[in-house]
């Protein structure tokens, strides 16, 4: 580990934040070990690293959510102990969490002033709140309608509200935890422009991310963490994507994954004319037909919220199919129970690993055996065979490099990427002929994504038919044989992965183009 900063204690004025020798352990896991971070005033500083590298822990320490075991924090050159978020706010530190903390039924203005309201007697002065919001919004170029209800706003706007909220509290140092995870490319561009603006106005921004392109496009400086330690800090001009990814994962990422041609196999999933309901009697999926065959990876690309998640739920038995037919492995499973569809040959990696993919309060063993638990060797008559379950879990942990404190710890103690590895490990272990993976690499780092992709392709080469829902075009091109684009509840285009471009897909994704008579039955290729 190299120690990048060796500034004497009082030269702090250059740095808005300096964290030195920060260490923090959770049980046996060292989340942060002797970490250094120095953020120059008026700059955008990216904190990059794999999941579980300790980025969030470090920022939680800076924001006072958790206390370090050792180390010192300097804010604007002054040594501070930050015991809770309120003290962080008082020091001018604000945080925009990955999961927004807004009140849905309140207006934008009410949310912005929440916790520091202008008062009129005992009540909140709503007019003044709106005024404050408008002023802040103009000052920083964050366009919002102060009177709109949060519930009616898209995520991009909600994020602006979070930023305004932090600014209203007088934050000069803004921490953003993976702010682009929920944004469209367009919204991301706007966000970055805003951040540039803020920095030009004297604010300091710390951006947690694991996306290389963001580092390259927006940061001034970068600090890389790996496995709880600082790998190094660099000016953006000194680094390139190649060097950064090497620092992050400790080795080089393969750009292309070899995919041998596969003979056309039997259909494992046939969807015809499926319609699925959405909120308030609307249709989320409006008549979709396609086929997935053995030995191919079909990807559904599209901007989030175009019916993909409803389609996935309908295919897996978690939401009723209103019209049409679904068959898995040649068996009609329309509106059957999740258990019956699994018996027909489905394995499913859901997009929300915490709500659905895992039971975070139970042990890794109990999570790994779910779905297998009625099969040999994991049961002996009425009883569970704990020894076999442990062996099985340990083998999954080994194969998928799940970093954890042993097979008996609660799944909730894992970091996001390791949770996802566990889910994928379990779903792969069924040996199912059809695998449905929804946003399989969302919120996980390069190393873990690479591993996931490698396993998906291995499964494809072994003859599994795979359907992936993805919003990440890098991923789409990396793994697909065929690509379907979903827009507004319909499949608007179908492509061979080697016969299309990002630009072409982009046009279909935003609804600017659609193929005539799009893909009846999915037999086109």
């Amino acid at each position: 580990m190299t120690r990048q900063e060796s500034v004497p204690v009082n030269a702090g004025s250059d740095y808005a934040v300096e964290m030195r020798n920060i260490s923090k352990s959770f049980g046996d896991v060292k989340a942060n070990e002797d970490v250094h971070l120095a953020v120059r005033k008026g700059s955008i500083h990216c904190l990059i690293g794999e999941n579980g590298a300790g980025k969030s822990t470090l920022m939680s320490i800076l924001y006072g959510i958790i206390q370090p075991d050792a180390g010192e924090i300097y804010v604007n050159g002054r040594r501070c102990v930050i015991r809770n978020p309120r003290e962080a706010n008082a020091l001018g530190i604000g945080m925009v969490h990955q999961h927004f903390q807004l009140v849905d039924s309140f207006t934008v203005a009410e949310n912005v002033v929440f916790g520091k309201e202008p008062r009129k007697g005992w009540l909140t002065d709503r007019r003044k709140a709106a005024e404050i919001t408008r002023k802040l919004s103009e000052e920083y170029g964050l366009k919002v309608d102060p009177a709109a209800k949060i519930a009616d706003l898209p995520v991009g706007i909600r994020q602006r509200v979070e930023l305004l909220k932090a600014l209203h509290k007088g934050s000069d140092i803004l921490i953003l935890d993976e702010p682009t995870a929920v944004l469209t490319p367009q919204e991301t561009k706007e966000l970055f422009a805003t951040l540039r603006n803020l920095v030009a106005g004297g604010k300091t921004v710390i951006l947690i991310t694991h996306k290389m392109e963001e580092v390259m496009s927006v940061s001034d400086r970068v600090t890389v963490l790996r496995r709880g330690k600082t790998v190094g800090t660099m000016e953006r001009s000194e680094c390139d994507e190649h060097k950064l990814s090497l620092m992050m994962v400790g080795r080089q990422v393969e750009a292309h994954l070899p995919k041998p041609e596969m003979p056309q196999g039997k259909a494992v999933l046939e969807v015809s004319g499926v319609k699925v309901g959405g909120a308030q009697g609307t249709l989320s999926v409006r008549g979709v037909s396609f086929t997935v065959r053995e030995g191919e990876i079909v990807t559904i690309a599209g901007v989030e919220g175009n019916g993909q998640s409803e389609l996935v739920e309908a295919l897996t038995g978690l939401r009723p199919v209103l019209e049409g037919r679904v068959s898995v492995g040649g068996r009609d499973v329309t509106n059957q129970s999740p258990a019956a569809i699994r018996r027909a040959g489905l394995a499913h990696v859901p997009s929300d690993r915490i709500a659905m993919g895992l039971s975070v309060g139970q042990s890794l063993e109990e999570n790994a055996v779910a779905g297998h638990h009625r099969m040999r060797p994991f049961r002996r008559g009425w009883l569970m065979n704990h020894r076999e379950i442990r062996k099985f879990t340990e083998s999954l942990i080994g194969q998928f490099d799940v970093r954890c404190g042993g097979s008996s710890v609660a799944a909730g103690t894992l970091s996001g990427g390791n949770m996802q590895k566990l889910v994928i490990a379990r779903e792969m272990s069924y040996g199912a002929r059809f695998l449905l993976a929804s946003l399989p690499t969302r919120g996980i780092d390069i190393g873990a994504s690479e591993l996931v992709h490698k396993h998906l392709i291995e499964a494809r080469n072994a003859g599994t038919g795979i359907l992936v829902v993805s919003t990440d075009l890098d991923e789409v091109f990396r793994i697909s044989d065929r690509i379907l684009v979903m827009y507004n509840g319909e499949v608007v285009g179908e492509f061979r992965a080697d016969a299309t471009t990002r630009e072409e897909l982009g046009l279909y994704m935003i609804g600017a183009r659609r193929q005539q008579e799009a893909i009846a039955g999915g037999e086109a290729i």
Binding site: D28, A339, H373
Partner: protein, 366 residues
């Protein structure tokens, strides 16, 4: 960094020791222990205010709960129905359903068991007892099952239905005991006495401790094995932790909830039946001093663990029987035990805050 090698011959023993150590030092256990100690302090202060020496009172409480064979058997007898109702409630809580209706299910079980005990004659005693217990379980179980059915079918909140079900069950059995089944000349609403062949044998003279206690312990063992080792227990537990996950993984979550409710009601019914066959020898209206509701407290304090429920039930039983002794020997009223119980529940419910207070600023996530 993690998991020492487990290949040594003593590995299972080491694992057991580590687990026990972990259990003893876990946040849960420490917090419960702190709560118990604080409860004693609070109770002590009240005793001092009342003008007594808390040490004398506590000593007397202890002696009257455990001091002699007689006292010990009284304590265990008082604990018996609470073990049943605690387990009953624990089953449903583990499966993520909130059966608040153990009280009513207890009455139905008591009535069902009493009817079998009174009106079937000429049976071999073990057979008679077993039949009586089985009918009691079916009565209590079916009643709870109905609430489970409403929940899985139409998503009707089981807290409300089981709560309301209590009144229906209690008043229905009370009607039976006051009208159709009431023997002539009986002073209060009750059934006739059960046949001798249906009575549970007693162990110690002058004590109500009977074979019901053994049945309670056996039930607790089954409960423990069920949730720890059986596949169905695992499915039920998983449904309790995360119903969506259970459904996604292909577990029959609806069926698990129905079974959990049935089992819960069945054990509550057993509590009532054992009270009839072993203590009262007949169904009597208002026979339960809130055993069903106390079962909720027992399960909560024990965090639904089988052995924990037995221990907490015995603690409650000790407070109850010891409290009576204290009243006889000092001028502290037996309500002291109610006060202690209530304070304990209050403290345990807020135990996380307590532990935080004690480990201030250390911020460890044990």
């Amino acid at each position: 960094m993690t998991a020492p090698a487990s290949a040594q011959p003593s590995a299972p023993v080491m694992r057991l020791l580590r687990r026990l150590y972990g259990l003893a030092t876990s946040r849960e256990s420490v917090s419960v222990l702190v709560s118990v100690l604080l409860t004693l302090v609070v109770g002590g202060v009240l005793v001092v205010i009342n003008g007594d020496n808390p040490f004398v009172v506590y000593r007397s409480l202890f002696v009257h709960a455990f001091g002699s064979m007689q006292n010990l058997t009284n304590t265990l007898a008082a604990a018996t129905p609470l073990i049943f109702t605690g387990l009953a409630v624990g089953i449903s809580f583990r499966a993520g359903v909130w059966n608040i209706g153990a009280e009513g299910q207890l009455y139905l079980g008591a009535m069902g068991g009493a009817i079998v005990g009174v009106y079937l004659t000429n049976l071999w005693a073990p057979m008679h007892i077993a039949l009586s217990l089985a009918v009691a379980m079916v009565c209590g179980g079916l009643w709870a099952w109905i609430m489970g059915f409403l929940k899985t079918k139409w998503n009707v909140d089981e807290v409300v239905t089981t709560m309301m079900g209590n009144y229906i069950a209690i008043h229905f059995t009370s009607y039976l005991a006051n009208y159709p089944l009431k023997p002539p000349k009986a002073p209060i609403g009750s059934t006739d006495y059960v046949q001798e062949s249906a009575q549970l044998p007693q162990f110690v003279p002058y004590s109500t401790l009977n074979a019901g206690f053994v049945i309670a312990i056996a039930t607790a063992v089954v409960y423990w094995i069920f949730y720890r080792y059986t596949t169905t227990g695992y499915q039920m537990r998983t449904v309790g932790y995360n119903r969506l996950f259970a459904r996604y993984a292909g577990m029959p979550s609806g069926r698990m909830i129905l079974w959990a409710m049935f089992g819960s009601g069945a054990l509550a019914g057993l509590a009532g039946c054992v009270e009839v066959l072993g203590v009262q020898y007949r169904f009597v209206q208002d026979m339960s001093p809130n055993y069903g509701f106390d079962g909720i407290l027992v399960a909560l304090l024990a965090m639904n663990s089988g052995p924990g429920i037995v221990l907490v039930a015995i603690l409650f039983g000790a407070l109850r029987s010891g409290g009576l002794g204290v009243e006889r020997m000092t001028n502290v009223p037996s309500e002291l035990s109610i006060v202690l119980t209530s304070v304990l529940i209050l403290l345990v419910s807020s135990r996380y805050a307590l532990v935080k207070l004690f480990r201030k600023e250390r911020g460890t996530r044990a």
